[in-house]
Symmetry: C2
Amino acid sequence: MAAGTQPVAGKARLEDVARLARVSRSTASRAITGAPGVSEEARAAVERAARQLNYRPNRAARSLVTRRTDLIGLVIPEPTSRLFGDPHFPRLIRGVNEELAGKDLQLVLFTPQSEQDERRLEGHLGSGQIVDGALFVSLHGADPLPARLAAQGVPVVVSGRPLGAVEITYVDVDNQRGAAVAARHLLAAGRRVVATIAGPRDMVAGQDRRAGYRQAMSDAGLLDRTLEEAGDFTRESGYAAMRALLARRPDLDAVFAASDQMALGAMRALREAGRRVPEDVAVVGFDDSPAAAAAEPPLSSVRWPLDEMAREMTRLLLRAIEDRSLPPRGVLLATRLVPRASSGA
Amino acid sequence: MAAGTQPVAGKARLEDVARLARVSRSTASRAITGAPGVSEEARAAVERAARQLNYRPNRAARSLVTRRTDLIGLVIPEPTSRLFGDPHFPRLIRGVNEELAGKDLQLVLFTPQSEQDERRLEGHLGSGQIVDGALFVSLHGADPLPARLAAQGVPVVVSGRPLGAVEITYVDVDNQRGAAVAARHLLAAGRRVVATIAGPRDMVAGQDRRAGYRQAMSDAGLLDRTLEEAGDFTRESGYAAMRALLARRPDLDAVFAASDQMALGAMRALREAGRRVPEDVAVVGFDDSPAAAAAEPPLSSVRWPLDEMAREMTRLLLRAIEDRSLPPRGVLLATRLVPRASSGA
DNA sequence: TTGAAAGCGATACCAC
DNA sequence: GTGGTATCGCTTTCAA
């Protein structure tokens, strides 16, 4: 290399730093990585040399031997149009970032948009050479990618309890208990004909919330399948389900919807049917989305801690990266009922 | 895929593949990378062996010698809350992905949220060992990061003409011409007192659109500074600006707003003032956002090709990666006026 | 067309 | 504490 002292961008190697600091490459490496067993003197010399040469460790070389990349992947296999419309993701990303703060780990986002994208991504992540581990936010829990990666030895944490018996670490909301609390809340208010608009049967959140509702109703000795109708979490489906329920059980005096959107649709149907909320029919939703508080009347809802979810996922992932032998585990986060006018609060 | 050898995940190296295929590592490497000069026979043997062993090239090792990562960064230094609320980003990402399709390049997203994040990111990207190059979507053009990276030799393309004399490749909308076309459209419709609600002075898009308006007005011999008011692209600022304009120039018969949001705010102010659109005052916006078509009356607007912008940025970046000696350049994309009822179409 | 061998730039083991 | 050196897994001359 040239004899000048010009710090050519990205050109200095550890060897150059070592030479300038008049130490061996080994010592220079220890100083740079902060490893123990380096005299204060040597460390200072190395740091000065590194700064002078504008030294940047070659991450490929480092990864080759450490088998680490210091990159954490966040995979969101959603159509970008939905991804960017959903207010959950910003908070989720913020939560991850908070947990990563001060860790010198860089978060990278992947948003596969097609089967082809997913295959390519599997190749990239599966090599284990791009990220040290990956978080999956899979809204439709059927995505095979996380399980495949986990099988290849890549540390993986997913949001939402996976369908089936996949051996994978996940963090989820305690949907069942949350739904049970909502139903009990309605019962405690004196309601006796408590219907539910459940979620889809093929989604875990739908199943669990339905199970929670049934448990509460069963405990009260009031379980009745004619009080159940299913939707797909959308407002329209909530509207349709409510109309079906009203037709079948005009005597109902409360309804628990497995999502705020469905609850809002239900409220419209109730209004159109001339039922007052909460006087005639009390309503509780799930998610405590902004729309819940803004509704007229304000909608009681079950809140779950998205931020904490993101942080817990990150913590679990970091732990799994530290110790690859850790067995998979599931974590359920508690929900909280936020009572508002729609249930008579 | 039945019984037989058990390919231990991520354990096979090129050497193993070569041995199984009964060729040298060199030949195996050539076969894997698709390099020329390999007999069909050898290639087939290597491919079979690779599949059998579930071989994945170690990307760190490869990068170490090729000095490539096959990763393209997309950096969006926006608060995630804004990022995910803005409908532009999905289309942008889709455009990038389309251009990347079939290239075996993986897109990774970075969303630095703070000064600290940006510094860390500079370190990571600046090493040149994480991405081969980066696209920057910097809504506020003042971000120093792209220029810094470019100075370190990392190929970089930004969206939006940068403020100042930064030597960096960019793609932007031809804001000036678009604004001029909008103003001329109003003039051609017979309007004579054409006001403008301009964008912020410290944003390039604001400056350029104002310049376009002035040029058209000046060409018509109708330039008059009392017809100009500035906003910050938001609906509220458009409302306030319109009120100020009406107070100052009650004789105005048209207004060009530098954003649809401002145009919508202006239309509200006009309605409140008892002016009919377009009979009394014609209105044209900029961006042709979904809100424009949905407005009442539908808003004429200047459309710019977001998808093409994303694709052109990607093309320029790929070219810059191929040939690092390419000088920076700026590309301006044409806009198109979409006339609707608000301007009498 | 093929193979042997020289790196790429770090880390980490092992003497000293 | 420090320094020599093997090593990580791949690509790429250079000869054969």
